[in-house]
């Protein structure tokens, strides 16, 4: 059968391309975005759609904490959509990567293919769930919940196609980094003041599956 999402893509011209800039110079690691997301999207215990990874570097007195707010990157070339056998992972014309709960069968293939580990199995639904840029709010003209909740305006959300938007201005004028661009997924979440140490994979001693 043809693309089940065809009808949802109606009227595609002049649509925005949503993206996010996270200014880590403003981030204080208060985890408010994390909580706002949990409340907004009713995310069950033990899983997160968006979270703030926090690391500590150096020795006293030269120490620092670095943060990395993490969420789905709403990639331009999302590997999750490519590998999904039933087209449940799909991308809207405005770039938001979605999961169709009517189609997802919970095979978890997308989970193992996403380089950012942002997808999880919803324990109650038995299918994939992840950040969707609060598409209900965005469609209603609001900001995503995490952006609105951030006390320091460290998260900035907007239209990447519009050169006048705040996100485009920041991307054009500030040094920005994206997570793992070498994965070829072309992520659309940009970081200002990014500390690559927050990306380093953990050594064996800290392996998750032993816990």
């Amino acid at each position: 059968m043809s693309n089940p999402h065809e009808d949802k893509k109606e009227g595609k011209k002049d649509l925005p391309r949503w993206g996010m800039v996270i200014d880590l110079d403003r981030c204080v690691g208060c985890h408010t975005c994390e909580i706002a997301c949990k409340i907004e999207n009713d995310v069950p215990l033990g899983i997160w759609r968006s979270w703030v990874k926090e690391i500590e570097k150096g020795r006293y007195p030269n120490v620092v904490r670095a943060f990395r707010p993490t969420l789905c990157n709403h990639c331009e070339d999302p590997i999750c959509c490519k590998v999904c056998p039933v087209k449940a992972a799909w991308q809207r014309e405005d770039g938001i990567v979605m999961v169709d709960p009517h189609l997802c069968v919970g095979c978890r293939y997308c989970m193992s293919a996403c380089p950012y580990e942002v997808r999880y199995i919803h324990p109650l639904k038995g299918m994939i769930d992840k950040c969707d840029f609060c598409h209900n709010r965005v469609d209603a003209g609001l900001q995503p919940s995490c952006v609105e909740a951030c006390p320091n305006s460290a998260r900035i959300f907007g239209n990447l196609k519009d050169p006048e938007s705040e996100v485009s201005r920041l991307i054009a004028t500030r040094p920005v980094a994206r997570l793992k661009p070498e994965m070829g997924t072309d992520p659309r979440v940009y970081y200002i003041g990014f500390d690559p140490a927050t990306l380093e994979i953990k050594r064996e001693a800290e392996l998750i599956w032993e816990k």
């Binding site: 059968m1 690391i55 056998p85 069968v105 293939y109 989970m111 580990e117 994979i201 953990k202 800290e206």
Partner: protein, 299 residues
């Protein structure tokens, strides 16, 4: 460098059930290949193994998808959606078709074989070979196309999977033939010629398999951060007992030596030991690949 204060851990994606699924399709593909050797390619020496091979292939392939269905969150929906919402760029999409067509073809092939219709047996046997390769090769592709994991994301993965499938299939056939001949025939004599030539095949398949593992790891150890890390994890870390000792030493190297030395190859006791060790080793290989490949966090 830094010490992690807070991070969110992902859930294990593909778990043991998937390893068993890979193991069963592998055994099935391997035994199917043995069964086609006499009817498809006219190697009459292997004829006594044909019927047993096809029965084993069908039974295992009926068992294999059960593990898959236990793993997915929505088993019935998954069967339906796989056919209706076919995604041509996903390797997993093709699985549903292969898992239906291959057992069907094997059953038809088996029926003609039991009825003694040589011509049709040959035709369906030859159709079955690419299917058997595909039904197991695609599982290798599933892993290879998950670009996030360096351990899986290699072009060798489907080939490694094919060889380990044939290796374990041949081992299983050796065991089954010995059991059948010894306990379920009138003469109670094992067909030595057949078993020993299967053991020779097993030896050479193991040589290729070990070579592929060597290629894979030599490249991984020189590759990028995650690749290096995962290779160390397999060779010297928490997975080393399963990978080095169970999979490669017990599962491949010792059986290879046993079937390469004529003295032990001609001894039923040693052959049984070699085949059993190899079957355990390949099961360990499936678990190491599926579980170890995603054991390291990505970021």
């Amino acid at each position: 460098m830094g010490k992690v204060v807070f991070d969110v851990h992902y859930q294990t994606t593909l778990a043991f059930l998937i390893s068993y699924y890979f193991y069963c399709t592998g055994l099935s593909a391997g035994s199917f290949m043995i069964s086609t050797m006499s009817y498809g390619f006219g190697m009459t020496k292997y004829k006594p193994a044909s019927k047993m091979g096809v029965v084993a292939a069908v039974l295992l392939l009926l068992l294999a998808p059960q593990f898959l269905l236990m793993q997915v969150g929505w088993p019935i929906k998954s069967v339906w959606n796989h056919f209706v919402y076919f995604n041509p760029v996903s390797a997993m999409s093709y699985g549903a078709f292969l898992l239906m067509l291959y057992p069907l073809n094997s059953i038809i092939y088996g029926i003609f074989m039991f009825k003694g219709n040589m011509k049709l047996t040959k035709i369906f046997g030859l159709i079955g070979i690419p299917m058997a390769l595909a039904v197991h090769g695609y599982t290798g592709w599933i892993l290879a196309l998950a670009v996030a994991r360096d351990y899986w994301n290699t072009g060798l993965m489907p080939i490694v999977f094919l060889f380990s499938a044939m290796v374990s299939g041949v081992s299983m056939m050796i065991l089954l033939i010995m059991i059948r001949d010894r306990f379920f025939t009138k003469e109670k004599v094992i067909n030595k010629d057949l078993v020993v030539s299967l053991a020779k095949i097993l030896g050479w398949l193991l040589v290729v398999d070990l070579f592929l593992v060597f290629c894979d790891y030599s490249v991984l150890l020189y590759s990028k951060l995650e690749g290096k890390e995962v290779a160390h994890f397999m060779l010297f870390g928490k997975m080393s007992f399963f990978f080095v000792v169970v999979e490669n030493l017990i599962g491949k190297i010792i059986p290879m030596i046993i079937v390469m030395i004529p003295r032990t190859r001609n001894s039923y006791f040693w052959l049984t030991v070699a085949a059993l060790m190899n079957m355990v080793g390949i099961l360990a290989m499936r678990i190491v690949t599926v579980y170890g490949g995603q054991a390291l966090p990505l970021m």
